[in-house]
Amino acid sequence: MRSTPDGELARALEELRKSGVAVIEGVLSTREARDARAALVAAARESERRGAATFMPELDPNDANVRVFNLLDLHAIFRDVIVHPVALALVRGLLGEHFAISNFTANIARPGSRSMSIHSDQALVAPEPWLAPWSMNVIWCLDDVTAENGGTLYLPGSQRFTQRAALPSDPLAQMRPFTAPCGSIVAMDGRVWHTSGANVTRDAERALLFGYYSVDFLRPQTNFNVNLSDATKAQLSPELFTLLGLGPSGNTRVAGEVLGERPRPPEARA
C-alpha cells in the first residue's frame, strides 16, 4: 500500500471540511484492490455459512445489495486496511485523537440494487444539535465507482446541518454521486446526508468497504468483544486492540478499571 504525501492529505482534509466528502485516489494498487475484492467475496460466503444473511431488509429495498458484516473476523487483509495510515490520518484530522473503530462492513451493489433511505450516520444515533463530527466513514473502492453502478449519493455541505429541520424539502434532487477509480478511498463526515446509489448497469458490480470510526465516547455500532473470535483477537496489534474497544478503558478514561489488573496486551496472551 502506498503512502500518501502530506500535501495530498492536507488537501483531502480541507475538502472534507468544506464539502463533507474527499477522495484520495490510488491508495490501493490495482493488485491490492483485486486481492481485497477476492477476500471480500470469500468473506461474504464464509459469513453466510456462519449464519449471517447478506440481505438486510431494514437497510435495503432488495437483495441485489449484498451486505457483509464483521470483516475483521473474516480475513487478515481487512485488519490491515482498517488501520491503514492514510485512513487513520484522515480520521485523526477530522475526529481528533480520541476515536474508536465503530464498524467495518462491505456493500456490493449488484445490477438492480436500489437506494436505501436518505440518512446521516450521526443523525441516526446522536441527539440534535450536531455541532461537531462524531463519526466518519473511510470508504474503500474495490471497483471503479460510477454514477451508474451505485456510487454513493450525498448532499455536499450537509455536514453543516445542525438539525433535521435544515434538510431541504427534496434532498435527493440536490444530491450527487461520488465517483472514484478502483483503489481510491473516500472519506465522508458522519453528518453528511447520503444514500447508496442505485446500480442501473446491466452487469457491473460495485464493491465498497466501509470503515466506520467514531469519537470514543460513543458506543461502537458493533461489539468487537463478542464479534471477534479468540484466534482473531490473539493476532491484533496493541493499537488495534485498543481501537476496537477490547481493553478496559471506557469512555471517560477515569473509570472502568478492571479489578486488580492492568489491561492485558494481546502479545502477553498469545
Binding site: H98, P127, V258, L259
Partner: protein
C-alpha cells in the same frame, strides 16, 4: 478539572464557547433545597424533572439492605487484604475514600440493585429503553476524607449539551447519609444550567443529600455533585452508584472484559439489556444477538 482535561476533545475546539450564555443566565449559583423524600414513582419523576434530583424513602427493604451492606464491606475488605486498588479515583482528592469496583462480580445483590424495578422505572421514564448500565461502583467515605471534585456525570458529552439528560444515577444509601459522614453534595436544579462546572464554580453552594440507609437518591446526569467531606472521627458511609446512559454511549466499564461468566449466565433479560448483551442490526453476531 482533571477528568475534563483528560478528555481532550481537540476536534471540537471550533464549536461555540460552551455554556457562556448559560453561565450568564445563572446569576448567583446556588443549590435549591433538597426535595423531601417521596414514596411513589410519580412524585419522584416530578422532582427529577423539575429539580434534577429525587429522594425515595425506604426503597430498599431491611433484608436486602443488610445483605448489600455486608457484601459491600466484605468486598472492600477483600480488596484491601488482596492489595487491589481502592484509591486514586480521579474525582477523589485524597486517599481516604475507598472505591469498590466490579460490584456485579461481588454478590448477586448488586445485580438486584442494578435492575431494581424502581431504578428501571426511573430510567425508562428519564432516558427511554433500552438504556445501558455504564458503571456500578461502591464508594465508602472514610473519616477525615475531604470533599470530592464537583462534576456532572455526563462529563464525556461535548458541550453545548442537547436538551435532554443523557444519563442518570440511582444511588443506594447503604449507610445513613448525613452532613457529617460524607453524604453526596448536590446542586439541586443545576441541570437547568446544562453545562459542566468549571474551577470557577468550585465554591457554589451545595446541599448534602441526607437520607437514611435504604433510601435511593436519583439524579440525572447534568446535576452537579461531589462526594461530601467526612468530618467524623470514626464513621464510614457506604453507597452503591449505578450509572445509566442512553444506549448510544460507550459504557464506562467494558462488561465483556470484566464480568465473570457466571454473572452473565445468571443474568435476567433486563440485566443483559442493561449490559449491552442484547443487540440488533449492526450489533448482531453472524445474525444473532450475543444473548
Amino acid at each position: 478539572m482533571n477528568a475534563k482535561r483528560k478528555l481532550g476533545f481537540g476536534a471540537l475546539a471550533d464549536a461555540e464557547a460552551p455554556g457562556a450564555a448559560a453561565r450568564a443566565a445563572c446569576g448567583e449559583l446556588a443549590s435549591l433545597p433538597l426535595p423531601a423524600p417521596v414514596r411513589d414513582v410519580a412524585a419522584a419523576l416530578r422532582d427529577l424533572r423539575e429539580l434534577g434530583v429525587c429522594v425515595i424513602a425506604d426503597a430498599l427493604a431491611p433484608v436486602p439492605l443488610a445483605r448489600a451492606r455486608d457484601a459491600m464491606y466484605r468486598a472492600a475488605e477483600d480488596d484491601r487484604t488482596r492489595g487491589r486498588a481502592q484509591h486514586g479515583f480521579a474525582l477523589d482528592v485524597d486517599e481516604r475514600n475507598r472505591r469498590v469496583w466490579n460490584l456485579l462480580n461481588r454478590d448477586p445483590i448488586f445485580c438486584d440493585l442494578a435492575e431494581h424495578p424502581l431504578a428501571i422505572e426511573l430510567v425508562r421514564a428519564t432516558l427511554g429503553w433500552p438504556a445501558l448500565l455504564s458503571n456500578i461502583s461502591g464508594n465508602i467515605t472514610g473519616p477525615g476524607a475531604a470533599a470530592g471534585v464537583l462534576h456532572a456525570d455526563q462529563i464525556f458529552v461535548p458541550e453545548p449539551w442537547c436538551a435532554a439528560p443523557q444519563g442518570m444515577n440511582v444511588a443506594w444509601c447503604i449507610d445513613d447519609f448525613t452532613r457529617e459522614n460524607g453524604a453526596t453534595e448536590v446542586v439541586v436544579g443545576s441541570h437547568r444550567w446544562s453545562r459542566l462546572p468549571t474551577e470557577a464554580d468550585a465554591h457554589v453552594r451545595t446541599v448534602p443529600a441526607e437520607a437514611p440507609a435504604g433510601s435511593a437518591i436519583a439524579f440525572e446526569s447534568r446535576i452537579w455533585h461531589r462526594t461530601g467531606a467526612n468530618t467524623t472521627r470514626d464513621r464510614t458511609r457506604a453507597a452503591v452508584f449505578p450509572f445509566y446512559t442512553t444506549p448510544i454511549y460507550r459504557t464506562q466499564e467494558n462488561w465483556f472484559l470484566s464480568l465473570s461468566p457466571g454473572v452473565v449466565n445468571a443474568a435476567s433479560d433486563t440485566l443483559l439489556t442493561l449490559l449491552a448483551y442484547k443487540s440488533e442490526g449492526f450489533g448482531l453476531v453472524y445474525g444473532r444477538s450475543p444473548r
